[in-house]
């Protein structure tokens, strides 16, 4: 029976997030949240592995109490149990302290054969978590996984998507995997699982519940990076829209402009 860990994250719907032009801060108040889409692809990959080889899927996330809904979403589509790491001391964490915290909390449930992660998050988009987690779990890392071809004898064989083609790799378990979405579109939950997920028990960890947690390595103190300022990119000069009233005259004006600039 494979022990599978899937890391998920609740993110703001970035299409709806605006930036305060004065402070440069992201205005998240009132913005709906969603589960990081690439994490759902990772979860689908884990569920497919569970369906084929058997296993137990543990979902883990760190975030505010509202992140519970992301875990319930995961429980509805194949997760078996879930861990929410929440508390003010964890706030402001970068990937260094987040990966440390996730690993320490996951260790409370023992060891894992497979760990699945989204390639990056919709909000931070650093793409660093997978490699940091692999290092901390002392696990092999298969990124950009296109298909999981075989798991047996403590080994996994998978196909990766490269810029130039595909690569078949084999690794010893434990192994951390990030997936391409092609074969791992998230599924819709069945009504039965959806309703069950609403009342499923979720393990809540505060900073005092995790064995051996070094409080200097979590949240802001444990972060290796600081973000001094966020600002919108400078916009290029706006283009010129030619609208003279008729397409024939528009084309004439365009040709004249291009000729004037020496482009034609």
């Amino acid at each position: 029976m494979l022990k599978i860990l899937v890391c998920v994250k609740q993110v703001p719907d970035v299409d709806l997030v605006k930036m305060d032009p004065e402070t440069g801060n992201l205005i998240r108040t009132g913005v709906p949240t969603l589960t990081n889409p690439l994490d759902l692809n990772a979860l689908e990959a884990a569920v497919q592995v569970k369906e084929r080889y058997g296993g137990v899927i543990t979902l883990i996330t760190m975030g505010p109490p509202t992140a519970e809904s992301t875990l319930r979403e995961g429980l509805a589509v194949g997760g078996d149990n879930a861990i929410l790491i929440t508390g003010r001391p964890f706030g402001g964490a970068d990937t260094l302290s987040t990966s440390y915290t996730i690993v320490k909390a996951a260790e409370m449930k023992g060891s894992f054969d497979l760990i699945f992660c989204g390639k990056e998050s919709l909000d931070g988009a650093t793409g660093q978590m997978a490699s940091q987690l692999a290092e901390r779990f002392d696990a092999a890392l298969i990124s950009c996984c296109f298909s999981i071809d075989k798991i047996s004898g403590g080994k996994i064989r998978a196909t990766r998507t490269l810029e130039t083609g595909r690569e078949i790799v084999e690794a010893t378990l434990p192994c951390l995997i990030t997936v391409e979405k092609d074969n791992f579109y998230g599924r819709l939950p069945s009504l039965k699982a959806y309703l069950a997920s609403k009342t499923a028990e979720i393990t809540m960890y505060s900073e005092n519940d995790i064995d051996g947690l070094d409080h200097e390595k979590i949240g802001v103190p444990g972060s290796g990076t600081i973000v001094p300022r966020i600002y919108p990119p400078e916009l290029p000069e706006p283009g010129q829209i030619i609208r003279t009233g008729s397409s024939r005259s528009d084309v004439g004006t365009l040709l004249a402009l291009l000729t004037e600039k020496g482009s034609i």
């Binding site: 599924r187 819709l188 939950p189 003279t244």
Partner: protein
């Protein structure tokens, strides 16, 4: 054929004086798209001139000129129609409302909005939502103009719960063929005040007058919603489930039908296979997507539980829940792309938009599929299972156009006869245009068709408004 006059340089100068040089187009300046709608198989006909109008006054002046000179006028919105309704069969002038796209204001006490006809459906929906309101009609083509929706009495996915466009039109400003401006209806919920010319104007496809301003009814936006995909092994068991859902007091907002073929096409087109092709290791033959709205999650959960029991008894493969923001976006984006997905991988296409009693849907679908196989035309379909409105597409990538049209005519003739036999109607929401006029005549009979023609003459004695459409046979033959 009715005797129309050409737009002479003198008449062109008069028209240009109304809208100005930049909004008057002649000859090669005319947007070639003005010669067709989204069903080019019905032919292309360019006008002699086109104007982009901005005000009721401009429309009135234009109509006075065209009426005095017997110039045919075809009103056009976004050109998203499917029956050639906005195609200027007799040439003349195309009067385009795309620049009349302002939302003029909300009356929050009475929940009404005033707007111009060129506002796009998606823009009205988004703007109403920003006021906490919903415009209930929800046709699939979101880039259609609301004026076009009124002219065709468009329906859409939420018709099961809320009704169709007609049910939300309180008042219209209309310019008549001779340029007179009339007001039809008021911002009130009831009326028992003479013949309803308002409702005559709705769905009249620009043949009785030009709509220049609308007052529409809105409702408070539902607090929460959820959809359930109910997959079945086959079409018959899928559709048999629909009356049971309707009878269960669940008050669904929509019940949409999709078969396996359209699901595959849509997944290829959108790149997101949100609707599964297999469930619990069984192939899905057809599904219904049922949407509920409510005031809290518990209410929706209770409705879903009851739906689950009905689905199980009806032999559904499962009930899948579309509850998260991402899944809702993906599901409705896939559902809204059905027609575009068909268009994307089809060279030649024709369509029918019949509406039959809900329990007759399987009979009609089985008939049309067999007919397609017999005649050698690929049939694809989806539709609004909750109200019996089916969108049937005849498709071919291999046939030459002439042969395609010949075969499709055989299918259409037989299918509309079958529709009549099943007590159905020619069009549920796409209207008649010129493409379906012959079938309308067969469906309603000589007496009713003649009455329609006489009504047309009362409003438009010279026949200059959208000639050759709905019941005007003057251009036939």
């Amino acid at each position: 054929m009715a005797a129309y006059n050409k737009i002479t340089p003198e008449i062109a100068a008069q028209l240009m004086a109304v809208v100005g040089e930049k909004r008057f187009f002649e000859g090669a300046e005319i947007d070639p798209n003005y010669g067709h709608d989204e069903m080019p198989i019905y032919g292309r006909h360019l006008p002699e001139a086109a104007v982009d109008v901005e005000t009721t006054e401009e429309v009135s002046e234009i109509m006075k000129i065209c009426s005095a000179n017997r110039i045919p006028v075809t009103c056009r919105g976004a050109g998203t129609g499917l029956v050639g309704g906005c195609v200027p069969l007799a040439g003349g002038l195309v009067l385009c409302t795309r620049r009349m796209n302002r939302i003029l204001g909300y009356d929050m006490d009475n929940l009404v909005v005033r707007l111009q006809p060129g506002v796009l459906l998606k823009d009205l929906a988004a703007d109403a939502l920003s006021h906490g309101l919903m415009y209930p009609p929800d046709p699939g083509e979101k880039t259609a103009t609301v004026g076009g929706n009124i002219s065709t009495n468009a329906g859409g996915m939420r018709a099961v719960k809320y009704g169709v466009t007609r049910d939300y039109v309180l008042a219209l400003t209309v310019v008549l063929a001779d340029g007179r401006v009339i007001e039809l209806g008021k911002s009130v919920c009831k009326t028992s005040s003479g013949y309803s010319l308002l409702h005559l104007m709705i769905g009249s496809e620009g043949t009785l007058g030009i709509i220049t301003e609308m007052t529409l009814k809105l409702i408070p936006n539902p607090i929460c919603d959820v959809s359930c995909l109910v997959p079945f092994r086959d079409v018959e068991s899928c559709i048999r489930c629909v009356p049971k859902i309707k009878m269960a007091n669940l008050d669904p907002q929509s019940i949409e039908f999709m078969d396996a073929d359209i699901v595959t096409s849509s997944a290829a087109f959108t790149g997101n296979p949100i609707f599964p092709e297999t469930v619990n290791n069984e192939d899905v033959g057809a599904s219904v997507l049922v949407t509920f709205v409510g005031s809290d999650e518990d209410e929706l959960d209770q409705k879903m539980i009851r739906l689950g029991k009905i689905a199980e008894e009806a032999g559904a493969l499962d009930v899948l829940v579309v509850a998260t923001t991402s899944n809702k976006k993906a599901a409705w984006s896939a559902r809204s792309s059905f027609l575009t997905a068909i268009e994307a991988d089809t060279k030649l296409i024709d369509e029918m938009d019949v509406v039959v009693p809900v329990d007759k849907i399987p009979a009609f679908l089985i008939y049309i599929r067999r007919l397609g196989e017999e005649i050698g035309i690929r049939i694809r379909n989806f539709g609004h299972a909750g109200d019996g409105n089916l969108h049937i597409y005849c498709c071919s990538n291999a046939l030459e156009e002439g042969e395609f049209k010949r075969r499709v005519k055989i299918i259409m003739d037989k299918a509309y006869s079958k529709c009549a036999e099943l007590e159905g109607q020619v069009s549920g929401e796409h209207s008649i245009g010129h493409a379906k006029m012959v079938y309308l005549k067969e469906s309603v009979g000589e007496d009713v068709f003649q009455l329609m023609g006489e009504i047309k003459k009362v409003f438009d004695p010279d026949g200059i408004l959208n000639p050759g459409k709905v019941c005007d046979e003057s251009l036939v033959g």
